[in-house]
C-alpha cells in the first residue's frame, strides 16, 4: 500500500473538522410544530388572497379554511423530549478512530501496490534487485496480475525467457483478456522459438486481435505473424492501418515504417 504524509494530513483534517463541530454544533432550526403552524398560516393567507381575487367563493373558503385548521390539528405533536448532552471528546476520538481505521483498511485493499515510475524517485535499482523485490512481493501476493506481468517483462529483460514465460502464464490464468500481456507473452514464447510466432505465440496474437483489432500494437504483431507466414499483402494492410491510426509523432512509428519498407522491398524483388 502507498500511504504518504498527504493522506495522513487528509485524515487529520477530516478528524479536526468533525471535532470542531462536535464541540460547537451547528445551531438547530425550527421544530416541526413551528414549521407546520407557519406553513398552514401561510396557506390560510393564500386562501384569503384567492377569495379576494374571486378565485373561490365564500362557501369554498369556509370549507377550505376548516380543512386547514383540521390538517394543522392533526399535524401538531407533543415533541417535548429532553435533549441528551454528549461528551464531545469521546465522540471526537471515536469518530477519528473509526475514520482512520476504516479508511486505511479500505485503502490498503484498493490502492495500487506500485506507483508507476516510483523507482525513479529513489536510487535506481539494478534489474536483479528489481526481480528480487518483485519476487518477494509475489511471495506475499502470488495472484497479483500486474506484478506477475512485470516479472515476465523483467525476466525477458535479462534474457531469461523460460522464467518470463512462467510468470506470463500465471498472469494469463488470472486475466486472459489483457492485450499487453497477450503480446508480451507471445513475444517471450517467440524468443524461445528463434523469433518465430508459431504455435501458442500465434494463438495469443490472434486472441489479442479478436479483442482489439484497432490496437496499433496488435496490428503490428499481427503483421509480423502474417509476414512470417508469407502473407505479405495482409502484413502490408495491417501495418498501413497501424500507421494510419498512429499519431504522427508516435515513437513506434519508425519501427512499423521500417517493417513495412522491408516487406514492400521484398515484394518488389
Amino acid at each position: 500500500m502507498i500511504f504518504s504524509w498527504q493522506l495522513l494530513i487528509m485524515l487529520i483534517l477530516s478528524g479536526l473538522f468533525f471535532t470542531w463541530f462536535l464541540f460547537k454544533p451547528v445551531k438547530s432550526g425550527l421544530s416541526h410544530n413551528e414549521s407546520n403552524i407557519a406553513i398552514n398560516k401561510q396557506r390560510k393567507e393564500e386562501l384569503e388572497l384567492d377569495i379576494n381575487q374571486g378565485l373561490i367563493d365564500d362557501d369554498q373558503f369556509q370549507v377550505a379554511e376548516s380543512e386547514i385548521v383540521n390538517t394543522l390539528a392533526n399535524e401538531l405533536r407533543n415533541n417535548n423530549k429532553d435533549n441528551i448532552e454528549i461528551k464531545p471528546i469521546n465522540w471526537s476520538i471515536a469518530i477519528f478512530l473509526c475514520l482512520s481505521a476504516l479508511s486505511i483498511a479500505l485503502y490498503s485493499q484498493l490502492s495500487p501496490k506500485f506507483l508507476p515510475g516510483s523507482q525513479v524517485l529513489s536510487e535506481p535499482m539494478t534489474m536483479d534487485e528489481s526481480i528480487e523485490k518483485l519476487q518477494s512481493f509475489l511471495d506475499e501476493n502470488p495472484d497479483d496480475f500486474q506484478a506477475l506481468k512485470m516479472m515476465g517483462l523483467a525476466q525477458i529483460g535479462i534474457g531469461n525467457a523460460e522464467e518470463s514465460i512462467k510468470a506470463f502464464e500465471r498472469a494469463y490464468i488470472i486475466n486472459a483478456e489483457d492485450i499487453d500481456l497477450l503480446l508480451q507473452y507471445a513475444s517471450a514464447i517467440a524468443a524461445t522459438q528463434e523469433g518465430q510466432f508459431d504455435g501458442k505465440a500465434r494463438v495469443l496474437i490472434d486472441q489479442a486481435f479478436k479483442l482489439d483489432p484497432q490496437s496499433v500494437q496488435v496490428l503490428y504483431f499481427s503483421g509480423i505473424v502474417a509476414a512470417h507466414e508469407g502473407n505479405l499483402k495482409v502484413a502490408i494492410e495491417l501495418w498501413e492501418k497501424a500507421l494510419y491510426l498512429m499519431p504522427v509523432d508516435h515513437p513506434d512509428r519508425n519501427i512499423i515504417k521500417e517493417a513495412l519498407d522491408t516487406v514492400l522491398n521484398l515484394q518488389v524483388k
Binding site: I2, Q6, P25, V26, Q60, D82, I84, C98, G117, P247
Partner: protein
C-alpha cells in the same frame, strides 16, 4: 502522488458517508442533538473530498497523465483542452464520478439552503442522501475505480469517441445529471418523512422547490441533448426515441407529474399518497436509467460500460432502493391523511388527469424501452422498437394533456360550475376558431399543423387572459403563477415547433456536381466543391455551398467530413439557423468525378423545439423562487 490523493479522497468520502448514516441517526433517535446536528458538517466534508477526487481526475486528463488507465483510454495529447476536460465524463468511471459529484453538490445545497426547514427533517434527509452516496461510492471504488493505475504507462493515450468531441456533449451530460440526480432530493425528503412518520405539511412544502429546480435542469439537459443530436449526428433529427434518451425522458415525465401533484398536496392537502409514490418513482426511474446506461445492456453511444459486475451491482442497489422505499411506504401509508374531497369539475380533477396521462405516457415509453431487452434476455429473438411505436402511442396520450393545460388553470380549486368555465372559455374559443380559420386560408392546409397551431393560439390567448385577469383584479402576480404561465407557453411553443418541423420540413439526399444548383423551399443551394482540411486530431474534407434566395446571397455553408485518428468517420453538418427556419447541409460520400452526395434539409421552426424546452425550464426556476419558499419563519 496526486492520483493517490484523489483515490484516497474517495475512500475518505465513503467512510464519511458511513459515519453520516450512523452517527446523526443515533443522534436523532436518542435525542442527542449534537450528534444529529453533525449531519451537515459530515455532508460538507463528504462533498469536499468528492470534489477533490473529481478535480484530481480532471487534472490528470488536462496534464496527460497516462499512468491513469482512465486517462490513457479516453484522452491523448492531441485532444483540445475543452474535450480533455469533458473526457472526464466521456468514460464510464468518470461519468459515475460526475454522478456522485453532482449528488454531493445537491446534498451540500440542501444542507445550506435549509434554514427554513425543521432540523430533524433536514438531518434525516441528509442521512438518506448520504446513504445514496454510500451506495454509489461503493460502486465506484469496487467496480469502476477512475484512478486505476497502469503499471507501464503508454506514451500516448487513445482517442476519445469523436461523437463526444463536441461542445454540446461537453455541457449536456452535466446538465442532465444535475436534473437526473436532483430527483434524489424529493426522494430523500419523502423517505425522511416516511422514516420519521411525519407526513405533514412541512415535507410537501419543502419537496416542491427542490423538485422544480431538478426538473428544470433535467429539462435543460434533455433540450441540450436534443440540440446536440440535431447538429452532430448529421441527419437533422431532434429526437430518436433511443433507449438512452428514453432513460432520461421517463424520470422527466414522472417528475412533471410530481410537481403538479405536489401543488395539489401543498395547496389542498390532497393526493398525498400519490405524491409519495411519484417521488419514489421519479428517482427509481433515474436509477433504472443509470442501470440501463451503465450496465451495458443497451448498445448506444452512451452505453460504454460492458462489465456485468457493474450492472449487477447497480441492479442490486436499484432493488434495495425501490424495494426498501415501497416497504417503507406500505408500513407508513396509514399515517397519510385521507385526501380532502373535491368535485368532478375542479382544478384537482385537471391535475389528476394530467398525472394519469403523464404516468401512462411514461409507462408506454418504459414498455417500448424494456420490451426488446426482456425478449432478448429470454432468448425470444431480437426486436427493435422505434419511432413508429412511440409516435403512435405517446403522441395520442399527450394531446389531451395539452388541451387540459388550456382549460384547467381557469377552473377553481375544490368545486366549480361548468357554466362559469364555459362562459370564460367562450371568448377564447371564438378567437381560436377565427385565427385557426385564417391560418387555414393563408398559411397551411396541413391538418396536423392546423391542430398544433390551434393549440398554440389557445394557450397563448389563455395565458394572456389569465395575466389580464390578475392585473385587472390588481392582485399580485406571484413567481409561482408566472412560472406556470411561462412553462405552459413553453409547451405550446414546443408543440408548434415539433409539429411544423416534422410536417413541413423538407429533406433531400442528392448527388451534386461541381457548380450544380438545387432549389429547396425557395432557396437555391449552389455546390462550389470540396477541399481537403485538417485540424488537431482529425483530417478530412470541407464542402462549400452558397445559398441564395431571390438571387440574393443568404449564407455560405461549409459542411465537413472528418476522419479521426481512430479511423472513425464523422459528419459535421453546417447550419444556417434562424428563429423561423434552419438551412441544414451535411456532406455524404465522394462520388465519381467532382460529385458528392449531399443532404439538404429545410427545417421550419425547428429552433422553437429548444426554445420551448428552455421556456419550460425557466418557468420551473421562476416557480422555485416563489416568495413562500423564501420567507423565513420565525421560531
Amino acid at each position: 502522488m496526486l492520483i493517490e490523493v484523489g483515490h484516497f479522497a474517495l475512500v475518505l468520502a465513503l467512510v464519511i458517508s458511513l459515519v453520516l448514516v450512523v452517527v446523526p441517526s443515533l443522534g436523532l433517535y436518542q435525542n442527542k442533538e449534537s450528534l444529529a446536528q453533525l449531519a451537515k458538517p459530515l455532508v460538507w466534508a463528504q462533498g469536499f473530498w468528492i470534489a477533490v477526487a473529481f478535480f484530481v481526475l480532471m487534472t490528470a486528463f488536462l496534464t496527460n497523465d497516462f499512468s491513469v488507465k482512465n486517462v490513457a483510454e479516453n484522452s491523448n495529447t492531441q485532444l483540445p483542452v475543452l474535450y480533455k476536460a469533458s473526457a472526464v465524463w466521456g468514460s464510464h468511471e468518470g461519468s459515475l464520478l460526475l454522478w456522485l459529484f453532482v449528488l454531493s453538490i445537491w446534498t451540500v445545497a440542501v444542507s445550506i439552503f435549509s434554514k427554513r426547514i425543521p432540523s430533524d427533517l433536514i438531518n434525516q434527509t441528509l442521512i438518506v442522501l448520504g446513504s445514496l452516496s454510500f451506495g454509489f461510492l461503493l460502486l465506484l471504488l469496487f467496480t469502476s475505480n477512475p484512478f486505476e493505475r497502469l503499471l507501464i504507462p503508454p506514451i500516448e493515450g487513445r482517442e476519445l469517441n469523436p461523437l463526444l468531441q463536441d461542445f454540446g456533449l461537453a455541457v449536456h451530460p452535466p446538465m442532465l445529471y444535475i436534473g437526473y440526480v436532483g430527483l434524489a432530493v424529493p426522494f430523500a425528503f419523502v423517505l425522511s418523512a416516511l422514516i420519521r412518520g411525519q407526513l405533514d405539511s412541512t415535507w410537501i412544502r419543502w419537496t416542491r422547490p427542490w423538485t422544480l429546480v431538478s426538473w428544470s435542469f433535467l429539462t435543460i439537459g434533455i433540450t441540450l441533448g436534443s440540440w446536440w443530436a440535431y447538429y452532430e449526428l448529421g441527419w437533422g433529427g431532434w429526437w430518436f426515441w433511443d433507449p438512452v434518451e428514453n432513460a432520461s425522458f421517463m424520470p422527466w415525465l414522472v417528475a412533471t407529474a410530481l410537481i403538479h401533484s405536489l401543488s395539489v398536496s401543498e395547496k389542498r392537502g390532497a393526493f398525498k399518497q400519490w405524491t409519495v409514490l411519484l417521488a419514489i418513482g421519479g428517482f427509481s426511474l433515474s436509477l433504472l436509467g443509470t442501470f440501463l446506461v451503465r450496465s451495458g445492456v443497451l448498445t448506444s453511444v452512451h452505453a460504454f460500460a460492458t462489465d456485468p459486475t457493474r450492472g449487477l451491482f447497480i441492479l442490486i442497489f436499484l432493488l434495495i432502493v425501490i424495494g426498501g422505499s415501497l416497504v417503507l411506504y406500505t408500513w407508513r401509508s396509514s399515517l397519510l391523511q385521507q385526501s380532502n374531497p373535491f368535485s368532478l369539475l375542479s382544478r384537482e380533477t385537471g391535475l389528476l388527469i394530467n398525472n394519469i396521462l403523464l404516468v401512462t405516457a411514461m409507462l408506454s415509453v418504459l414498455l417500448g424501452t424494456l420490451y426488446p431487452l426482456i425478449l432478448d434476455s429470454l432468448d425470444l429473438g431480437k426486436i427493435s422498437v422505434g419511432a413508429p411505436y412511440f409516435n403512435a402511442v405517446f403522441v395520442p396520450i399527450m394531446i389531451p394533456g395539452v388541451l387540459a393545460l388550456a382549460v384547467f388553470p381557469y377552473v377553481r380549486w375544490k368545486k366549480d360550475s361548468s357554466s362559469r368555465v364555459l362562459n370564460l372559455l367562450k371568448f377564447e374559443w371564438i378567437s381560436v376558431v377565427l385565427l385557426t380559420l385564417l391560418s387555414w386560408i393563408f398559411i397551411t392546409r396541413n391538418i396536423f399543423v392546423i391542430i398544433a397551431l390551434a393549440l398554440f393560439i389557445w394557450v397563448v390567448i389563455h395565458v394572456m387572459v389569465l395575466l389580464l385577469k390578475r392585473l385587472k383584479a390588481k392582485s399580485k402576480v406571484t413567481m409561482s403563477f408566472l412560472g406556470m404561465v411561462v412553462a405552459h407557453l413553453g409547451i405550446a411553443v414546443f408543440v408548434l415547433g415539433a409539429t411544423v418541423t416534422t410536417q413541413l420540413g423538407i429533406e433531400k439526399d442528392i448527388k451534386m456536381n461541381l457548380g450544380e444548383t438545387q432549389t429547396i423551399a425557395g432557396y437555391d443551394f449552389v455546390f462550389n466543391g470540396v477541399s481537403p482540411h485538417s485540424k488537431d486530431n482529425y483530417s478530412g474534407f470541407i464542402g462549400d455551398i452558397s445559398v441564395f434566395k431571390n438571387d440574393r446571397k443568404v449564407t455560405q455553408l461549409r459542411p465537413e467530413k472528418r476522419l479521426y485518428q481512430t479511423g472513425m468517420p464523422m459528419t459535421e453538418a453546417s447550419i444556417d439557423p434562424s428563429i423561423t427556419r434552419d438551412l441544414y447541409v451535411a456532406l455524404g460520400e465522394s462520388l465519381e468525378g467532382d460529385a458528392w452526395s449531399v443532404r439538404i434539409y429545410y427545417k421550419p421552426l425547428v429552433r422553437w423545439i429548444w426554445l420551448g424546452g428552455l421556456m419550460i425550464a425557466f418557468g420551473a426556476l421562476l416557480a422555485a423562487i416563489d416568495r413562500r419558499y423564501l420567507v423565513r419563519f420565525r421560531s
